[in-house]
């Protein structure tokens, strides 16, 4: 295992400490229990937004703490949901009296730990609402399963809900737009290579030199299917087809196209994928009104990508365009 780390057990602590030092203008870092809050939190009268989950998906979530997006991020151990304590601490730290929204990716661990934290926060008199993201079309959705995973759509939910909270929307309103973004987002990912969790020290799965995994999530888990490597255009088509038919996205729709790197793929490749995705959407009469390309929700050093489509309405566009000032996403200020 080759990594720029010291002790595998201190990866998250040291990285968060470094993040805090590098972005002291944006955030304040608390180490016990570990959480990252906006430098100016709590903001009286503003809905606080807290997200979190296992580490290893950076810049998600700490990279999205700041003006117009998250008020706090709670990092767990690598690929492990945080426990309720730091989620509760973060919730308290960002409560400005208008309530707090938890944005939770749909994984059993995240859902349960955030649930406990929300219960504890309610006991302390904080109004908490939760939105669970579940945009991954690679997973079959059913009442009898754990349901779809929250992946790329989470970034879009955090940006848009963050903008709604920043303009002063109520907790109900912020939760509503977050739900709406999640309901209109669909994603699918693939991996060219596995990743290595520091404490495990071994590759999360093994792939032959000509094999890739289709339908992966963001935890180094294998996907639904293993196929032979194909040219980029074919890969993009494979990701887009189930996304397009799931919502479905149709001619005349306006979308945000998000091509996300899993961490280890160079930007050149993401733009090659973007080119094809734009071509396919164009052929179908779907208008790309906004786009995002880069490594925003990752699996450590995994090579691969995911594509997320969000069907936009006017309010979402307005909130997407609203100023944001975080370590990883910034515009308008």
């Amino acid at each position: 295992m080759k990594k720029i780390i010291n002790d595998p057990k201190r990866v998250v602590d040291e990285s968060v400490a470094g993040f805090g030092a590098a972005h002291a203008d944006l955030v304040r870092v608390e180490m016990d229990p570990i959480h990252i809050v906006r430098a100016d939190a709590p903001i009286a009268g503003k809905v606080g937004i807290v997200s979190g989950g296992g580490s290893g998906h950076e810049p998600l979530h700490a990279g999205f703490v700041g003006f117009g997006m998250l008020d706090a991020a709670v990092p767990g151990a690598v690929f492990t949901s945080p426990t309720p304590d730091p989620i509760l601490a973060a919730t308290k730290a960002v409560d400005g009296g208008a309530g707090v929204l938890h944005i939770v990716k749909n994984y059993t661990g995240d859902v349960l730990n955030f649930e406990t934290a929300a219960d504890l926060a309610s006991v302390e008199g904080i109004d908490v609402r939760s939105v669970v993201t579940n945009d991954d079309v690679a997973v079959k959705d059913s009442l009898y399963t754990a349901g779809r995973r929250g992946v790329g759509g989470t970034v879009l939910v955090e940006k848009i809900a963050g903008a709604a909270a920043e303009r002063g929307d109520s907790l109900d309103e912020v939760a509503e737009v977050a739900e709406r973004v999640n309901a209109n987002a669909r994603s699918m990912g693939l991996a060219l290579t596995p990743c290595i969790v520091p404490h495990a020290g071994e590759e999360s799965f093994t792939l032959a030199e000509d094999e890739i995994e289709i339908g992966i999530g963001i935890h180094g888990e294998p996907g639904r299917e293993r196929i032979k490597l194909e040219p980029a255009d074919g890969l993009v088509d494979r990701l887009l087809a189930p996304i397009l038919e799931d919502l479905p996205f149709e001619s005349g729709d306006r979308v945000l196209l998000f091509v996300n790197g899993m961490g280890g793929s160079p930007l050149v490749e993401l733009y090659i994928a973007y080119r094809r995705a734009a071509e396919v959407l164009g052929e179908r009469g779907i208008e790309i009104a906004r786009s995002l390309v880069g490594n925003y929700i990752t699996s450590l050093e995994m090579q691969g990508m995911s594509i997320t489509l969000l069907k936009l309405d006017d309010e979402m566009v307005e909130l997407w365009d609203a100023p944001v000032q975080t370590a990883a996403l910034r515009w308008g200020r």
Binding site: G54, A77, S81, G109, T116, A146, V197, A200, H219
Partner: protein, 215 residues
């Protein structure tokens, strides 16, 4: 001859040991159909419990120990296993009440409460390929053993061996809950890591009981 605080503390120590010994195995099982952290998570949790055992005092009960384990796992394990095991130990503590000694029936009651806690939080049914598939046969076996007149040791031994069978029986299953469910059909052919850790913990309980009985 019921099981007392000594047993409870010994169970925790043995649990920490056995989880640490099987850390890599649990990581490997979880890597195959999950995200490769189960052994690390459980080890972090039980290592955190150990120093807290010193906080127990002369009048502490098995229920106090179970509560200590519950709160520590909840605040240190994270992931799915943290809240699920945390709830299990919490419900077990409630079931244990302030009894100083637990007989076979009490043991069966504790295990039932633990399993019900897991199901309450995780909503998994038997056959979903989760830790429930180790706990449910364990609960059934302990209950039957107690009804047949076994002592607490006998009930735990029955529970442990049923848990092992239950864990092994998860191998062919297609997961419907937890991270393994994302793999769909590809989850078949692998043992569920949470079922494995459950069997390890129940075996530790039985071993601690055997040590108590031998002493």
């Amino acid at each position: 001859m019921g099981l007392d605080i000594t047993w409870a503390v010994d169970w925790v120590r043995r649990s920490a040991q056995v989880v640490s010994d099987h850390r890599i195995e649990l990581i490997t099982l979880d890597r195959e159909i999950g995200d490769g952290d189960h052994g690390e998570n459980m080890d972090r949790g039980f290592q955190a419990v150990l120093p807290k055992l010193d906080d127990l005092h002369a009048g502490s009960t098995p229920g106090d120990v179970l509560k200590l384990v519950a709160t520590t796992l909840i605040s240190t394990v994270g992931g799915a296993a943290g809240p699920l095991y945390g709830t299990a130990y919490l419900k077990a503590a409630v079931a244990a009440g302030d009894s100083v000694s637990l007989d076979a029936e009490a043991i069966a009651g504790i295990l039932t409460a633990a399993r019900d806690g897991i199901v309450l939080r995780g909503k998994a049914e038997p056959g979903d390929k989760t830790m429930v598939d180790a706990w449910t046969p364990a609960v059934d076996a302990a209950t039957a053993a107690a009804a047949d007149g076994a002592d607490a040791l006998g009930a735990l031994q029955a529970a442990a061996s049923a848990a092992w069978e239950g864990a092994a029986a998860t191998e062919p299953l297609v997961a419907r809950k937890g991270r393994a469910s994302y793999l769909g059909e590809r989850s078949a052919g692998h043992r569920d890591p949470g079922a494995e850790s459950s069997a390890l913990l129940l075996q530790a309980a039985a071993d601690a009981a055997a040590a108590s009985a031998g002493a």
